[in-house]
Symmetry: C2
Subunit: 175 residues, 2 copies
DNA sequence: CATTTAGGTCAGGACGGTTGACATAACACA
DNA sequence: TGTGTTATGTCAACCGTCCTGACCTAAATG
């Protein structure tokens, strides 16, 4: 009974089983899967380092964006991360307790809590970004026509159109 | 007290606060962030459709790889997904109960449970991949020199080197 | 003064993962 | 035959990261 080979359609228990999908110009399996694997390994770089501090990916994201935008208020952070304040709460508290971030009352609106990295938080964030940048740099060096612009345009094109202004705002400090 | 502007280093409660990181050739903030946002929106496409079935991302990944490799055994799936069998268990059971997958005893080694999609499972997987492929296609169309090869090489270069053979094996059916 | 806003917190729950321990069926081998 | 190993499944306990709902304080706003 070798009838279940991948190229034969077969029946079992009344349930039909099927061959692998045919190649289709609108089914780009290779790029879909490469994106999945690439992101998995891209994020794994940082996971190990974060583990040493007892941090997870949520801490990483908060640390990253506070370093990118020192003085950010909590509401801005919630908007970027698209999570609720109840979910941000513990993460923020741990980062403050561990001395990676500080919260300072807003100079004009004292209800606000401006978020700043400490030197410790800045160092960790830079280390994490450094690891990820090295992987990106290595990947760009591996392609035929070393075209950083194309990669940037491609990734930007992957972002939901309505989101692009928000992301562009975040990027305005660099090109 | 407007001394907390982003370009001034300041002290508060004994904790130093800092300026945004300087541009650095080994700190590619734009691409790091674009990768984050791109993956977020790439994955969000599928989430809505999955929600209608009460499925999450774990179901998506299982459904995808079983469709790509019909007849895959459980151990192979665990290796690709890098999760434990305890964590796969409920996901697999739900997909079988909902009629998206079937499990068939291996014809040679009857301990094995060969995984096959049903027509229902195949349809859903193709729908999901179609959405994601359209986003990728749109992103490639948006770049200057429409070079699919470069994108593929870039994403492949992002994958952990020791993992590349495994991923290449998965891709061998297409170019 | 009343209302709204920024932020924090408590309670309860869901999902998706983990480790450890154990069970079952089937294969492999001496 | 028996013994050990392999493929898979399951029970229990736990963790991280999200959620909703409800409620609170302090400060700004009218």
């Amino acid at each position: 009974m070798s009838g279940l080979a991948a190229n034969k359609t077969e029946n079992s228990a009344g349930q039909p089983v099927f061959d692998p999908p045919e190649p289709d110009e609108d089914l780009d399996f290779p790029l879909v899967e490469l994106f999945f694997f690439a992101y998995r390994d891209f994020i794994a770089d940082a996971d190990g380092m974060l583990e040493e501090y007892g941090f997870g990916r949520a801490h990483h994201r908060v640390l990253h964006f506070v370093n990118r935008r020192p003085g950010m208020v909590v509401a801005e952070l919630l908007e970027i991360l698209r999570i609720t304040k109840q979910s941000l709460g513990p993460v923020l508290r741990q980062l403050v307790e561990s001395g990676h971030l500080v919260q300072i009352a807003g100079p004009e609106d004292r209800r606000q809590r401006l978020l700043y990295p400490t030197q410790k938080g800045r160092n960790l964030s830079i280390q994490l970004t450094h690891m990820q940048s090295r992987r990106i740099k290595g990947a760009i060096e591996g392609i035929k026509n070393k075209d950083r612009e194309s990669i940037r345009d491609f990734l930007f094109g992957m972002i939901e159109p309505e989101e692009r202004d928000l992301v562009n705002g975040l990027m305005e400090q660099d090109q």
